[in-house]
């Protein structure tokens, strides 16, 4: 199966239209695709108690369902969801009189370091903007790439376990992981 890094937005628009039409499977697909990464995105962007992060994550999804008719397919769905999340975070900060976290979303120096061939310095990995960017980048990837990368590197699955999770042979899973890593590095530097 060939997987393009960026699917046409018309597919995202079609998925959104199915949700508007009341299609439960479409909503589940949308949710399964982005629920975890969107939570991580909000978690890293907001320096707040976990309960508040969970609240904002839930509000973002409810707002997404309420306003999905306004999604026109001009950007990818995950970009639209991240934009809703940013608004919710800004509202939260305004209500509590906090300074809203301002992130330079695509600092060229960070992208250069991440895409380079040297081991990453620890201070890069502790930066909230980098962590938030990782979550956003994972949302930009095709489903199989995202699932494979999270299973392998966040959940600590072996290649064999990833193969079983995705119902693939060991070799196919190895190859998929290799392509997923390359796609992740490329997508990290792209405008999202």
């Amino acid at each position: 199966m060939s997987i393009s890094l960026r699917e046409p937005f018309t597919e995202d628009r079609a998925l959104a239209q199915q949700v508007i039409d009341g299609n439960q499977s479409a909503l589940t697909m949308l949710y399964e695709r982005y629920a975890d990464s969107l939570f991580a995105f909000i978690y890293h962007r907001l320096d707040a108690p976990r309960a508040d992060v969970e609240e904002i994550w839930q509000e973002t999804w409810l707002a997404a369902l309420r306003s999905i008719g306004s999604y026109r397919g001009h950007s990818q769905l995950f970009t639209w969801l991240c934009s809703l999340a940013r608004h919710k975070i800004a509202d939260y900060c305004r209500k509590r009189g906090h300074q809203s976290q301002v992130f330079t979303d695509n600092s060229p120096e960070i992208v250069e370091v991440v895409q380079g061939n040297d081991p990453l310095p620890e201070e890069i990995l502790t930066r909230r903007d980098v962590r938030s960017r990782v979550a956003q980048t994972l949302m930009a990837l095709p489903d199989e790439y995202r699932l494979a990368l999270i299973a392998r590197y966040a959940d600590g699955y072996s290649v064999d376990q990833v193969a079983r999770l995705l119902d693939k042979s060991y070799k196919a899973a190895e190859s998929l992981l290799s392509r997923a890593k390359a796609a992740f590095r490329t997508a990290f530097g792209e405008e999202q």
């Binding site: 975890d36 994550w57 839930q58 991440v114 979550a135 966040a154 890593k181």
Partner: protein
Amino acid sequence: VDHSDEVLESNTARLIQSGMGGEARLDSDLREALHRRLISELHAGLALPAFPEKALGLLTALGLLAVLSTLVQFSQAGMRAFENGFWPMLILLLLLNLMLIPVASIVIVLQRRSHDRKS
């Protein structure tokens, strides 16, 4: 496996752990609960269709045509004040446009009802 592959493997692992590991992971009960709630909201018709921009645009265009044709009729009927007076003409335009708001609202309500019936 050469050195650059090892570095790439390690960098990717560390990046993804930093972004998706530990506290950034979603609680599975909360995940399930929101999924159920969204499904229930979907059935309750929370997902609204797009704002009917085209329909409203058409209505506005029709309104403007109505205004223009009214002015022409007034003019032909000899009501010269509407030709020469700026303010009466502006008030007339505003009033006629305001009259379109209830019409637009009815269109929106009908569209929402039709959507509710579908879902």
